[in-house]
């Protein structure tokens, strides 16, 4: 560059940008966020990161979705679209009853109201998208755009504000400076699994997570009643939030008992929860009659279904390779076993949260509680891994040291791998490859390994297994007589990793609870 005038900086200018010289942390994401760290560009951080996150989400959404051009049943996209027409075209009393074989509504009422709102807007744009019977399985590209917009808009109204607030308050509590907070925020935003599931496969998980994390935000700022309100909203959007319920319950109960028993608080919390549930179900009762509540609950908890669906990296599915449960036990025995196993699994988390109800423990508490549900409970989907995964990812705002980030990154990488069979079926192989590798690179996967030899061994070993399985699947292809070979391999690797991840998170939770840093709270 030829520059004629020597560069002169006026004093006001240089005085304003002070933090120029701080070197970035040593991984690509930290380098990318680095220019935003100067004090004059702080206002840029949020809009820029949100725009980048949006662009990647939208670009993933250009791909196909679950059940695209796949008759007869299509997939989750069709389910969501169908709920929009059920709720807009039928009276409330038929919502949970209408033709249950064709993607009958089986989510709690808040999802129904949300579908109603989106369906209402969509019908204004093009009534043929939501015409009830005639519109089954429509594959209009403009409808796809509309549906993708509805996911992004819902996410930006719930999940995004929740994590903005979370990083702000939790990051400050953990002593992160504004640069580190930007890194943590970006790392949470670029979580690969949520992008692939919500914006690729097509679901509205982020709304549930948004409410759940808003609840956490409220707990962090001592707004316990608002927190329980939001948590009930989360439950009423998607029953999956139950994975967090024991942890939240134990935490709130702990706050009522320590340092001394506080009955008023306990009463108010209980009253808020009950009142919120009543408000959520009120429209169903008012417009449809009281029997709707029962039908809704029957639809939401399908106990008649099997122990697990498809191939999931949890205890039952993984050990089923060796022990064929369905040959030895009947449905109710298995249900009881899984209930007991889950209860045993959540016990440590609940006890820690009850005796040490500290704000700092919330993300890891939610994560460990959800891990035991994912590993041992009944009716688990591969997508449910998001539940333990996201609170664990939130812990980026708790610590950015190499050890912590490497473990969180590792779990995220493995979780993306566990979604491979699903995404392959959806025709999202390209998006899986690009987003998976991109995230692994962003977080500096191979440059940042945990401190101890055990961690290094686990990480490198599991990455080798992941790469090996992918290569083998490409090279060997389908094996005669073992149609699910690669999927089972995937399940076994992921199950092993998830158990270790659970163990790591539990141990970390225990350390945080005992850490003297938290005694002052």
């Amino acid at each position: 560059m030829a520059s004629t005038t020597p560069r002169k900086k006026r004093p006001t200018r240089s005085a304003r940008s002070v933090s120029f010289s701080l070197p970035p942390l040593k991984f690509p994401l930290a380098r990318l966020v680095h220019p935003l760290q100067s004090s004059t560009s702080q206002w840029l951080v949020l809009p820029v990161l949100l725009m980048i996150a949006f662009l990647f989400r939208w670009a993933v959404g250009l791909g196909s979705y679950s059940g695209m051009a796949a008759p007869p049943m299509h997939g989750d996209f069709e389910a969501q679209r169908h709920w929009m027409e059920i709720t807009t075209k039928l009276p409330v009393r038929e919502w949970y009853w209408h033709d249950l074989q064709w993607w009958g509504l089986d989510y709690p009422p808040l999802t129904a109201y949300h579908s109603w709102l989106v369906g209402l807007i969509g019908s204004k744009i093009n009534p043929t998208w939501f015409a009830l019977h005639d519109s089954r399985g429509v594959d209009d590209p403009i409808l796809k755009v509309f549906m993708r917009v509805s996911v992004v808009a819902s996410e930006y109204l719930t999940y995004i504000p929740a994590i903005v607030l979370f990083v702000r308050s939790y990051g400050a509590r953990s002593g992160l400076n504004s640069y580190e907070k930007s890194i943590a925020f970006a790392a949470i935003l670029m979580n690969p699994s949520i992008m692939l599931i919500d914006h690729g496969h097509f679901q509205f998980n982020t709304v549930m997570f948004g409410f759940a994390f808003l609840a956490v935000d409220c707990f962090l700022t001592d707004h316990l009643l608002w927190g329980s309100f939001f948590f009930v909203c989360s439950l009423c959007f998607k029953q999956m939030a139950l994975y967090y319920a024991p942890a939240v319950f134990a935490y709130l109960l702990g706050l009522c008992f320590f340092p001394k028993f506080d009955f008023g608080r306990l009463f108010m919390l209980g009253a808020t929860v009950i009142a919120t549930f009543m408000v959520m179900f009120a429209p169903l009762v008012v417009f449809g009659g009281p029997e709707q509540v029962k039908q809704c609950i029957i639809r939401v908890f399908p106990f008649a279904r099997g122990l697990w669906e498809d191939k999931v990296a949890n205890f039952w599915c993984a050990s089923n390779v060796a022990i064929k449960y369905k040959e030895y036990f009947d449905q109710s025995q298995l249900q009881l076993a899984s209930l007991l196993a889950t209860l045993a699994g959540i016990m440590p988390t609940c006890l820690i949260l009850f005796f040490y109800p500290q704000k700092r423990l919330l993300p890891l508490g939610l994560a460990t509680c959800a891990w035991s549900f994912f590993l041992f409970s009944f009716q688990v989907h591969e997508k449910s891994v998001l539940l333990p995964l996201l609170p664990l990812t939130l812990f980026h705002a708790g610590s950015l040291d190499t050890d912590t980030t490497s473990w969180i990154t590792w779990v995220n990488n493995i979780a993306v791998f566990s979604l491979w069979p699903l995404l392959k079926r959806d025709g999202l192989a390209l998006q899986y490859t690009v987003i998976g590798m991109f995230y692994a690179w962003l977080m500096g996967t191979f440059q940042r390994l945990p401190k101890g030899w055990f961690g290094k061994l686990v990480h490198l070993g599991s990455y080798a297994a992941v790469i090996g399985l992918h290569v083998a699947e490409q090279v060997v292809g389908k094996v005669e007589g073992l149609p699910d070979l690669w999927t089972v391999g995937n399940v076994l690797v992921c199950f092993g990793c998830y158990v270790l991840a659970w163990g790591w998170a539990l141990q970390r939770l225990w350390n945080e609870a005992k850490s003297p840093k938290n005694k002052t709270e």
């Binding site: 560059m1 030829a2 520059s3 004629t4 005038t5 020597p6 560069r7 002169k8 900086k9 006026r10 200018r13 940008s17 120029f20 010289s21 970035p24 690509p28 380098r31 990318l32 680095h34 220019p35 760290q37 100067s38 004059t40 560009s41 840029l44 809009p47 820029v48 725009m51 980048i52 949006f54 662009l55 990647f56 939208w58 670009a59 993933v60 250009l62 791909g63 196909s64 590209p141 403009i142 796809k144 755009v145 993708r148 390209l430 998006q431 690009v434 987003i435 590798m437 991109f438 690179w441």
Partner: protein
């Protein structure tokens, strides 16, 4: 951007990940154009390349580009050999799309290399500026829209152009060779040739002692010989076979189809777009002023969208008029370049040549705006005046590309990406531009109209992409295009006038 973080490599990886995700995005007929060229160069002897017309998208780039397609076709056959059949019109299997999109991404690495050179060669005190400029070019919304969605190979060719511009300072010979080769890839770069000609002549072929009065030609014979031989060799490599086969008239008729109209289908934002806009406005008020209206133009269905434009009130424009105007406005900066052949004047006159051919040329494509933006980017941080004239161009030039993508799925990408780019880089440039010599009041005077101009873009884009469709449906389809290009033309012209002033007064 502070320091040299993120590095060029980091940003390249992020951009590549994003571009790969755009694989299923909308692609224009240019995708099929290039597939057809792959097929015809692969399966036909060279003698037939410029005669083949199975597809309506005949080969109309110079021979090097055809050879480039031929090279790529040898990789393409491993992806999907069916894309290489000339008869297989409109073929777009997943592997075809994958290969073609990947080929754009991979060949763009030439540009990444050029940008790496830009940063590496710049002196320490401008390194940070050079780095910011390099990132802005790498992430250019123009390239994203034109290359990675619409589909073309500009990244690769602008990479060669940037290399040529960068080495012009230290090695004019190499610069000339690169530019000659570039012309054999795509002849649109002829727009810049006058500036190259003058610069190479004055700075390389004539010695430093050259003066007009007293006459002292000071010709550097050896330099002239080297340059002449190299350039002739390159052109001979490209065109000699066709001369031998007597195909030059056919080749030229493919490269320069003069039968086209004044304005291209999407109305490039130039003087003629403003002229057409004025004509449309005059139709409304002509009866009151007692002006004659050309009825034939009124009823013409295309309204100047394609083919020959005829104006209803204003006089018609002939190719000769556009040619004379273009040369005239090129001559101004070139005279100065001839007198003072500095590197900065060279970059300035390259930019100004691009400006005048874009603004006054015949049948200009809106995509040619990159021809202005990239050379100008290299200058943008030289002074605050340069930055002030760059700003309206950055806004108008990119907004004018929006009509290229009209599908709803790509609307959020083009708008959000462009807005993001403008926020990040105009902010960064503002921090990095030297502030010397411009007082607060004059800056206020310069920046206020620019801000106003930017703000107008928001309702305009909303109207053109949303409201117009709701109000008029499919009728008056030319109107949003005309608004967009007239608006953008204002920005481009303002930027041009400003830069011309800065250049001539410096």
């Amino acid at each position: 951007m502070s320091g040299l973080y993120p590095s060029l490599k980091d940003v390249t990886i992020v951009a590549t990940a994003f571009k790969l995700l755009l694989l299923p995005a909308y692609k224009s007929t240019d995708f099929e154009v290039h597939r057809n060229w792959l097929a015809l160069t692969h399966s036909l002897p060279v003698q037939k390349w410029y005669y083949e017309n199975t597809s309506e998208w005949t080969l109309d780039y110079p021979p090097f580009f055809a050879a480039f397609e031929w090279c790529m076709s040898h990789v393409a056959k491993y992806f999907d050999p069916r894309m290489l059949e000339v008869q297989n019109l409109g073929y777009d299997s997943f592997n075809t799309v994958l290969f073609q999109r990947l080929s754009v991404i991979v060949t763009e690495l030439v540009m990444v290399y050029a940008l790496h050179r830009l940063v590496a060669n710049s002196p320490e005190f401008t390194k940070r500026s050079a780095h910011a400029i390099a990132l802005s070019i790498l992430l250019s919304p123009g390239l994203l829209i034109i290359d990675h969605i619409h589909f073309q190979y500009n990244g690769f060719m602008y990479g060669i152009l940037l290399l040529s511009l960068l080495v012009a300072k230290s090695s004019p010979l190499l610069s000339g060779i690169l530019f000659a080769a570039l012309l054999c890839f795509k002849h649109i770069y002829l727009y810049l040739a006058p500036a190259y000609f003058i610069y190479l002549l004055r700075a390389y072929c004539l010695g430093p002692n050259f003066s007009i009065w007293p006459p002292n030609p000071a010709i550097q014979f050896f330099n002239s010989l080297k340059l002449g031989v190299s350039i002739i060799t390159i052109f001979a490599t490209a065109f000699a076979p066709f001369v031998w086969w007597g195909q030059i008239p056919q080749l030229l008729s493919r490269l320069f189809p003069f039968a086209r109209g004044l304005c291209h289908a999407y109305w490039a934002p130039n003087i003629w777009a403003m002229y057409s806009f004025m004509d449309r406005c005059l139709i409304l008020i002509a009866p009151k002023l007692g002006l004659a209206i050309n009825q034939a133009a009124l009823s013409s269905g295309t309204r100047g969208l394609v083919g020959n434009t005829s104006f209803a009130v204003l006089p018609d424009i002939t190719p000769r008029v556009t040619f004379v105007l273009t040369l005239l406005f090129m001559a101004l900066p070139l005279v100065k370049l001839f007198m003072h052949p500095t590197y900065e004047n060279f970059l300035g006159s390259v930019t100004l040549c691009a400006f005048s051919s874009f603004l006054f040329g015949w049948h200009v494509h809106e995509k040619a705006i990159l021809l202005i933006i990239f050379p100008f980017s290299l200058l943008a941080l030289n002074s605050r005046h340069h930055l002030s004239s760059f700003r309206p161009l950055a806004v108008a030039g990119h907004v004018s590309l929006f009509p290229l993508l009209f599908t709803p799925a790509e609307f959020p990408i083009k708008t959000v990406y462009t807005v993001l780019w403008l926020i990040v880089f105009l902010y960064t440039f503002d921090k990095l531009a030297p502030s010397g010599g411009v007082n607060e009041y004059r800056r206020w005077l310069m920046d206020r109209p620019a801000t106003l101009f930017v703000i107008v873009a928001i309702p305009l884009v909303t109207y053109c992409s949303l409201i117009h469709g709701l109000v008029f449906g499919d009728r008056l389809g030319f109107m949003p295009l005309m608004f967009m290009s007239s608006y953008s033309a204002v920005g481009v012209v303002a930027s041009w006038v400003w830069l011309m002033g800065v250049y001539l007064s410096n």
